[in-house]
């Protein structure tokens, strides 16, 4: 892992969520990402807090230091406090975390570990909470979280250990 950028960064205005400095190499790629990310967060059927639980779980399992320290404003306003976030740990099943969020975490873990062997009950639980369209939306959100978390890690865009405090940012596309 590196905390020094491995490529030249571009000062490109208009991006969201800190991606502008590397996706700025290709403005069409930056625009496509921003459009998708804003849609996933703001135009969907699934509440922000649920998607934030998935994002935080991915951050921990993927070990993305940047992702782990960022919180998005709408999810925070919906009640996803630091106390709740702290329960999204490897011991989540033994905590007082909302059972709905526990089902979301099991679904995220299945996606990240071996999606070809997902327990049908895990998917059924999430579909019961979110509906079929909501499950697709969650998958799209998680796909972005996973792909771009690993992108940050690989390009050396991670913060140095302990250097980045928890930061609340405006939810992408919500301003």
């Amino acid at each position: 892992m590196s905390t020094d950028p491995r490529v030249a960064l571009i000062d490109y205005a208009g991006g969201v969520a800190g991606t502008d400095n590397f996706l700025g190499h290709y403005p069409q790629l930056l625009r496509a990402f921003d459009d998708l990310y804003a849609t996933v967060w703001n135009d969907g059927e699934v509440d922000h807090a649920t998607k934030e639980v998935a994002r935080m779980r991915n951050a921990r399992k993927t070990e993305c230091g940047y992702c782990s320290q960022v919180r998005f404003s709408v999810a925070r306003a919906e009640g996803l406090s630091e106390d709740v976030v702290s329960l999204i740990s490897d011991e989540f099943d033994e905590t007082e975390l909302d059972p709905r969020y526990k089902d979301i975490i099991r679904w995220v873990d299945a996606y990240l570990l071996d999606p070809s062997k997902v327990d049908p009950r895990v998917r059924a639980d999430v579909k019961a909470h979110l509906g079929a369209g909501g499950e697709v939306e969650l998958a799209c959100a998680l796909a972005i979280f996973r792909a771009f978390g690993k992108t940050l890690i690989t390009l050396g865009l991670e913060p140095k250990p302990g250097a980045m405090p928890v930061a609340i940012y405006a939810t992408p596309g919500s301003a």
């Binding site: 069409q28 790629l29 998708l36 996606y111 070809s116 079929a132 939306e137 690993k150």
Partner: protein, 113 residues
Amino acid sequence: MATPYAFASRSDLFDRWSRLESAIDDTDLDPVLITWCRVRARVLFGASPPQSSIEPPAPDIEEFAEQFWMDAHGISDALAERVRLLLGDGPTVALVVLLGLSEVDVRTELMFA
């Protein structure tokens, strides 16, 4: 194009995901390398059998890609720098984004199979 079919029930997401994939195709990344990444990710994650007809990229790029998929934290500074020198800064960014998208395309397909 590799947009997961699972997204088809949500046209708003499917269309935007497709545009993101197309934006990769519109970078100056070698189309042969783009194809190799998409095919190799499918093989590595068990969605397709091995395909000998796909020509592998330069050894450093192949090692970089496979290390990304196995454990991105394991990519060394030296390997990353060799890839950057081979491709340039912009195409290296495009490659890394492509590797991420290729992985989650397959994961999503398997999850909804």
